[in-house]
Every structure is written in structure tokens, then in C-alpha cells.
């Protein structure tokens, strides 16, 4: 087992290196450099000043040298300072992770927690009114883009009805992460994050449950005289949940899953906005740090998933 893990981790190194090269190149081949973008339209800043800043930021060096610097920094888990904030990109990302994770995680829980039972109910009442109702609901959710749904929520729930705040993590002057004020502010983003799950899980679970229901072992269970509740929950639902678990394969990347759309609509200072702005402004250190950290977590998640498979399914051998 240890050898398996070690080998998988070693294999991850060239993958990460490839990701680094691609990220590095893609960022730099697009037109205009960060310094030019930073001071665009300001005629008081001379070309000399800009060149001095390029030098200060290390942008005047040849690309291969810049890449060596970048690799050497990344090995020491240092991604350099943001060009705009003049602070370590790593710190800026770490300080925003809690902001992002909170609504994403809650959204996932709501999505699964409500979506799975809905799918189960739909399967059980197949062909009846409840089933149709759930199907129409999921189709509507699935086909409404998040940004539109979000804006509708802000317009009706926040501005007109004042049920939820228009955005932000706390009211002005308040600063807490586990409190009623935060919970109130979380409502909108969590619902929006849950939207995907609410649209997806009912349909997935419905199909799975129906398929499991037609299996022989279910008939056997019923023939044995087991109570319907036990058949449904211990036998059917448990088996139907396997694809949900597979879906969690990249679970660790949840740390970086902040969506720029949700964060913009609800003015949430999370990672999505940080990376998006970094990309628009060509803040290389932020973008590079973000991509490499999330790729790393994805690779780790995959290793974990493989191990879990091996543990769960005796047919898969660890070698």
C-alpha cells in the first residue's frame, strides 16, 4: 500500500510540472504585459518608470529564466508577490479560502441533502404527480443560468422583499463567521451554489433507484418478506448512492471551488473573484499559485479516490 501511494505521488510530479509549463506559457502569450495594463491611460507615468517596475517585478528577464525562478519558488511553496497588492500570493489565497469554502460546502450539503431525497421520492412515486412535479422543477433549475437566477434573487428576495441581504459576508461593521448575521448573509450564495445539486441529484438518484429496483436482489429481499422500508433504505438507496460517491472524486478541490458568478452576484470576497481579477489584470503570481494549488489538490484527491476504491472493492488490487 505504501509503495502504491508513493508511486502515485511520484507520478503526480511530472503532471504538475506540465501544468506549470502550460499555465506559465498561456499567461504570457496573450497581448500586453501586466505593467502596461496596470497603468493604462495614465500619461504621467513614463516608459522609463514602467521599465523600472518591469525590472522590479522580474518581468524584464528572458522567459526561460522567469520560468526557472517560478519553479524554484514553487518548490519552496512560495509563489511570489502579487503585482498589484505587493503581498505574497499564497497569503492572499489562504486568507480567502475560508470565505469560499463556507458557502460552497453548505451549498453542496443542501444540494445533496435535498436533491437525493427528492430523487428517491420521484423514483418511488414514478409516473405520479409528485414525480412530474420534481422533474419539471429540476429541468427549470437546470436550464436557468446561475448569474440570471442570482440576479433575480437579489432583485426580488433582497431589494424588494428584503428577506436576504443584497450581498457581502456581514453587515458593515460586523465581522464574524459563525453567527446569525453570517447565516443570514449566507442564504443567497448557499442557495445559488445548491442550485446545481438540486437540479442534478434528483434525476441521477431517480434513474439509479429505478434501476436498482429492477434488480434480482431486490426481488429476493421482498420475497424473503423483508419490510418495505428496509428493502428501500438498506438495499435500494445504499446501492443507488454509489454514483454520488464517485461524484465526490475531486472533493478536495472544493477548497478552490468559489465561483466568480456567485461571488459577483452576492459580492462575496472569495477565491473566484480573486482568480478572475488576477486573470483579467494579468497578476501572474495569483493565477499561477491558484492553478498549481488546485491542481495539486485534484491530484491528491484522485490518489485518495483510488485508494478508497481499492479498500471498498476487493476486486481492485493494489499493486
Amino acid at each position: 500500500m505504501t509503495r502504491f501511494i508513493a508511486r502515485r505521488l511520484l507520478q503526480a510530479i511530472p503532471t504538475l510540472f506540465g501544468i506549470m509549463i502550460i499555465t506559465f506559457i498561456l499567461l504570457r502569450v496573450s497581448p500586453a504585459d501586466p505593467v502596461k495594463l496596470m497603468v493604462a491611460g495614465d500619461q504621467e507615468i513614463t516608459e522609463e518608470d514602467k521599465n523600472r517596475l518591469r525590472e522590479g517585478l522580474g518581468l524584464n528577464k528572458p522567459l526561460p529564466l522567469q520560468f526557472v525562478d517560478f519553479t524554484w519558488q514553487a518548490i519552496r511553496l512560495d509563489f511570489g508577490n502579487s503585482f498589484y497588492y505587493h503581498r505574497p500570493a499564497r497569503d492572499m489565497i489562504f486568507e480567502r479560502i475560508p470565505n469560499s469554502v463556507q458557502p460552497v460546502l453548505l451549498g453542496l450539503l443542501v444540494g445533496v441533502g435535498v436533491g437525493v431525497p427528492l430523487g428517491f421520492v420521484a423514483a418511488v412515486s414514478r409516473g405520479r404527480r409528485t414525480d412530474h412535479g420534481i422533474r419539471v422543477g429540476t429541468v427549470v433549475l437546470q436550464s436557468t443560468p446561475d448569474f440570471f437566477l442570482g440576479l433575480l434573487m437579489v432583485l426580488f428576495l433582497a431589494i424588494q422583499l428584503k428577506w436576504i441581504p443584497i450581498g457581502s459576508m456581514n453587515v458593515v461593521g460586523e465581522d464574524c463567521t459563525m453567527c446569525w448575521d453570517r447565516a443570514w448573509h449566507l442564504l443567497g450564495p448557499v442557495l445559488l451554489y445548491a442550485n446545481g445539486g438540486l437540479a442534478f441529484y434528483p434525476r441521477l438518484i431517480r434513474t439509479e433507484v429505478l434501476e436498482v429496483l429492477s434488480q434480482d436482489f431486490v426481488r429476493t429481499a421482498r420475497a424473503k418478506g423483508l419490510r418495505e422500508r428496509i428493502v428501500m433504505f438498506t438495499h435500494v438507496l445504499r446501492n443507488a448512492l454509489i454514483p454520488v460517491v464517485t461524484n465526490f472524486g475531486g472533493i478536495l478541490t472544493i477548497v478552490f471551488a468559489g465561483s466568480v458568478i456567485v461571488e459577483r452576484v452576492f459580492n462575496w470576497p472569495g477565491l473566484g473573484r480573486l482568480f478572475f481579477d488576477g486573470l483579467v489584470n494579468k497578476d501572474y503570481p495569483i493565477v499561477q499559485a491558484g492553478i498549481i494549488m488546485s491542481s495539486f489538490l485534484l491530484l491528491i484527491s484522485f490518489v485518495m479516490r483510488d485508494i478508497t476504491y481499492a479498500l471498498v472493492d476487493p476486486r481492485i488490487k493494489v499493486r
Binding site: P31, A32, T46, I166, V172, P269, R273
Partner: protein, 577 residues
Amino acid sequence: MRRYLAILSAALLTATACGSQAPQGTQASPAATQAATQQGVRGGRVVEGSISDIKTLQPVISTDTASSGAWSMFYLSLLRSNPDTGDLEPGLAEKFELSKDGLTVTYTLRQGLVWSDGQPFTGEDFKYTAEAVARSAKTVRKSTLQDIVGWKDYVDGKADEVKGIAVKDGGRVIEIALTKPFCPALRNLSGAGAGGILPKHHFVAGWNNKSTDTKANIDDHPMNMKPPASVGPFVFKEWKPGVSVTMTRNEKYYRGAPLLDEYIIKVYADQVAVKAALLTGEITYGSTQPADVEEVRNAGREILDFHRFEGVSSYTYISWNAKATKAPWLADKRVRQALVYGLDVSAIVKNVVLGYGKQVFTHTPKASWAYPGDDKVTKYNYDPAKAKSLLEQAGAKMGPDGVYRWTNGAPMTMRIETNQGNKVRETIGQIAQEQYKAIGVKIDPQFISFPALLERSVPQNLDHEGVILGWSLGLEPDMYSIWHSSQSGKDQFNWVHYANPEVDKAIEAGRNGPDCSAEARKKNYETVNKHLSEDAPYTFLYMGDSLVFFNKAVQGVQPKVYSTASGWNIEKWWIKR
């Protein structure tokens, strides 16, 4: 030796004499004006909505307006700008003068200036800030200070101090020796290069006078996120990155302690979020775009006061590349004039920016003390017939397809490029296409990404014709970097290759003297603006108005054209309960 105070009043007189150009807050509510005269009470807070993130609270390395809007509450320059004309006024320095030979700048500080922590504010703070700029590896401000005697030696590490900055009279007098006369020096040097002067007694700890290493100079200083003392109206309290900056009253502010307890700048993701925050009362002060004004005015009638005043900080234009390889006709002044006559700019102002702007015909804003007066600039009306006759005078002949042929036989077809996603500019591009078609010039509008546009609008690229962009203007009327013919080198700003010897001469005189008096400079800028409006290197379009909303509870606010984000009378703002 000459007193700038006297000049200031002269400039003020001129501004008022010209009547129509006097800037005005056209729609200030009667309540706000009346409240300005009322006695304010202490207490309360103002929450300002900002649409971009605050990046640093350190002036030396700051490059964006959201950041400077925040740090300018703590760190000030020695001088202020007249809120109506933009001319210099006493600030921390009560007297300031440029010697007759233009080689010495002297600032005399007010008596008894102190930082919020009680330490005296002196010329040493000024000198330290200039040296911090010199040692920074991340600043873009060094060229502001390059004409100071001994600057280069200090930057190169050959000297332990900048010799040309002398602090005298117990720190009250700052005397700066220049290597050559530089008329904008009084203003440009007043912020020690950074724009805001730092408290030396705090920053000097851990500072290595010799080093440009970012760990030992100012670039990575921990106080960049935590300003330790303030000489401005507010004192730093807390910064939540990506969320807000909170500040409290500075009891020791030299213009009198503000009435507000707190001032908070809150960061929003975009203009839509600011609009919502204004309407729900989450913020008490914020700006909007033209398209949102009516909506916010209607929906927020009960709680918001609308202020609209002439913008002076930026203008939008279509530049015409006089050396365009594919459009040789742009080198001809008559063609460029025809392009101004052929575009209905007043209709653009009316329909695209919904009337929240003013058409301009030249570079210097009308409200500025350096503006020559309307009678001195060439004005253009929308006149397609005149445009056509100008094209014909220039030698163009109408082709069978309704498009003019240039003297070399080529059809007059060219591109107008602008940045994708900027709806206002995209619309202007489309209007230009339509209206220029009517005068026989075929336009191919192209919308490309902003970075790509920046790469294309440079002097070394001759493969572009028209570009719609905007300039942000500082308070200094000098326009050397845009209009002087020498500024057409690689990546410089004169990418239209404008070259007019008279303009060059006037720009040089306005910049390097020898006569740096306001009268002389005004005369020089009159020459420049006269030629610019006549030569039409750009089709100057408009300056957008500033459109701001204040919650009705905020009293004492008097927005003015040249009042910066800090509010020229912010210490008098108060909250009505």
C-alpha cells in the same frame, strides 16, 4: 520670488469672469445646500461604496484610484487643489514658491502640524518619503523626482541622502534644488513623489537606507497594510482585505477634527452591487453610471440625494494615426477636420451617455485654470456637407460606390478599434461607422480585448487608423507625454504621431519655463489647445460627468469638480439623526 496665493486668486477671478465655464453642482438638493450652512453635530459614519478592490495603503507602490482613495485619508501632499479650478492651494504647507530661475522650490509648513500619534510632522518626513521612492523597486513614480539635485547619486547608491532636498528651520522649511527649471515642480514635488507623505518615525524601523531589496525597503513593509499614523482627516482602524477599510476621526487634523466618527470604504464587485447597496441604504455614498442614474433616482427618491458635476478627470476620443500605412489621408489636417465635422458628437453625448457629459474640442478640461476660454479653441458642429467639401479640398474624389477615393486612388476605408465589452465605446464605434458612411468614408469597427488594444495603440505600430480610448488627466496641465513630437518612441503615448513645432515649443515652455508663472503657462497652454482643436489629431468626444449619490442623512457635502475622492471639506460632513 512670487507668491502662488496671488496667482490663485487671479485664476479664480478668471474662472468666474468666464461665467459659463464656472463648474456647478447642477442638481444638488436644496436640503444639502442648506445643511452646509447649518451647524453640524458630531457622530455617525459614512460608508462609501468602491467598485474596485483596495490593493495597498502605501502611496509609494500604489497605482490605482481605489487604493489612493483610501490612503489619501491618512497621508497628504503638502498642497491642496482648489476644488473649483484645480489650481494649487496651501495645505500642510502654508507657503510655497518656485524661485524666478525655476531652480528652487520652497515649501513652508504650517506651525504646529502633528501626526495623529502626537509626533510633529516635519520636512524630515518629506525627505524620507522621497528617499523611500528612490529605493523602491516597485514604484512607478521615480521620474517625478528625477530633476532634483543629487537624485541620481542617491538612486545609484553613491550618496547617503538626496543632497538637493534641504530641511531647514527646525523642519518647517523644505528647500528643493532642481537641475533644470520644471514648471510642474511645485505640484509634482508636493507629494514627495509618492503623492502622500509617510510618517518617517514609524517607517524608518527596519529600513535600510542603502538597500533596494524589497524586504529592507518600503515595498514589503508590514505597515503598507496598516498605516501607523495619519496627518489627514481620518486615522486607520482596520482593513479587511477584499471587504473594507475602516477609519476613525483624527482629532489632530489641521483643518479641524471631522464631525464623523467613522469613515468606511466598502468594496463591491461591480456597479450593479453598488447600485443595490445605495438603494437599500447599506452604503451612504457611491457613484453610478449614466445608464443607472434614472433608476436610482426614482427608486431611491426617499433616501438619496443626487449630485451631478462636470467631470475633469478623463475624456474619451477617437485618435487618428497620422502615419497609418493603410490610411495615408489621415496625415492631412483637412481630412481629420472632416472627420470631426462628420460625427455628431452632441448626439453621442445625448444618446450614448444620456446627456451626462460635455462635448470637448481639446485636451485641457474647461474647468481647469489652464483652459484658454471657449473663444480660443476651434469648435465644430455636426456638418456633413462641410465634411465632404473638406475631403474634396484635400483631393479626394467620390467613387461610384459612394466612398471617396484618395489621391492615390485607394478607397477611403479604415478601421476604428476599441475595447470589447465597453458598451459606450462600442456604440460610438457603430455610430461613427454609420455617420462617416454619409460623408463617403467607410469604417470597419473592430472590438478587441483591452490588452490587445493597448498593444496595438503604440507609435511603433503603424497598422492602425482610428482608436476609441480615454485619457485620465492629472491635476497638472502639462501634456508633454501625449502631444510633444518627441513622444512617438516605442510604447510612448503620441501614437498618432502628432507633430506641430509651435505646439512643441509651447509645451516645452509650459514645462521648463523659463517663465513658470501661471500667466505665462496659461498663455502656453492656450497655444497648445488652439492648435490641438484646429489640427484635430483626435476627434475629441466628451468628458463624462461625475454622478454621485449621498444618503439624505449625510449633510454638509458640497461636491466640486476638482474635489478628489477624499472630499475637499470632508471634515465638515455630518450625519443628521
